[in-house]
Amino acid sequence: MMEIEMVSTPRVRILVVDDSSLVRLYYRDALEKAGFEVEHAINGIEAMEKVLAQAFDLLIVDVNMPRMDGFSFLRALRRSAREVATIPALIITTEAGEQDIEDARAAGANFYLVKPVSEADLLRHAVVLTGAST
């Protein structure tokens, strides 16, 4: 049977925002293996710069980061008058308290996962939140 390669299909783009380089790398590898295109940012400020300059289908955001944390970034993004305000956002954090989850919702997160997140879990949520086909 002939295989059809769809080279021209634009890939689903994800921005991973985390201050730990190993965590960024770990998520990126998992996502790239599944065919997503991945960019990263090391804090909320860099994330905001990237979001305003490039198109993304999903933001995967850590909470505790220096300079600008994940919640502040999301709040600022959701307040923006531009199209970027509605990009889906998945919060992945070590904080597992009820209040943290409520804060994430209030900041504009679409979903919330507590670390450690397995590769399978990460991909499942990335697929659901981007509507990507696998």
Binding site: S20, E95, K115
Partner: protein
Amino acid sequence: MARSEAHEPRAVQITQEDVRRLCEFLYRRTGLSFADSKRYFIDRRLAERITVTQSASFQAYFAILRSDAEHEIEHLVNAFTVNETYFYREEHQLRCMTSSLLDNVVRGKKAGQPIRIWSIPCSTGEEPYSIAIWLMENWSQVDSYNIEIVGSDIDTRALKAAADGVYGDRALMRLSRQVIDRYFQAVAADKYRIDPGLRNSIQFTRANLVDAQDLARYRDFDIVFCRNVLIYFDDASRRMAAENLYDCLRPGGYICLGHSETMSRISPLFHVCRFSDAIVYQRPETDHDGN
């Protein structure tokens, strides 16, 4: 000057006494000690440095060395500490880290806190990169903590190579194709460059194991890999290095040595821990004096 000539050691006479003086000097300044059996090894590297510095005699070279003109001590040490290593060397220790050590390390930590791992000497970077790759491939909690990996060496040439992160086939021989594809990029025939993200996740620094002052800025490590360097030291330097490493560890932290090395004969400071994958040494949770 033709290239071949530039690297051909000139026939400068080196006596046994010269070598003794040199070794004594090196030992005082760096803690590195060389047995008589290493005479051939020393002669060759010494001859190289005499040629490179265009010294007319051993005496002339020794004067340069003693004044440390143009960082000659560093150059000589670099010439002496050439190492060849590869990824996933001593895999049982990496396995021990993820199957035993980290369970104990994270017991005292909250998620999100740093886990500090030190590779000293890290030579050309294979070990710290191996640690990072191993953790990503084998530790399910890798994203739950802020893992900081530091690679240190006394040899600045090795450190530069580590930071460049380009390796030949031989260094990658123990890695699966899948791991190579994931973390390396082929840059030339038989040459692979480490992923820039991985490269940036490791901090490379120069450090001297027997210099307590130098090591004072390295603290709170949870796990230290210090393999195959203590064998180069004599008893006094070994003890000094062990004490320095003790101070660099967090209480309860672990140190992994080379398979032919043992801490027991060097220093009574550490507990011996026998795990199924490896023997490692632990800084006790509380100091001997109860503090």
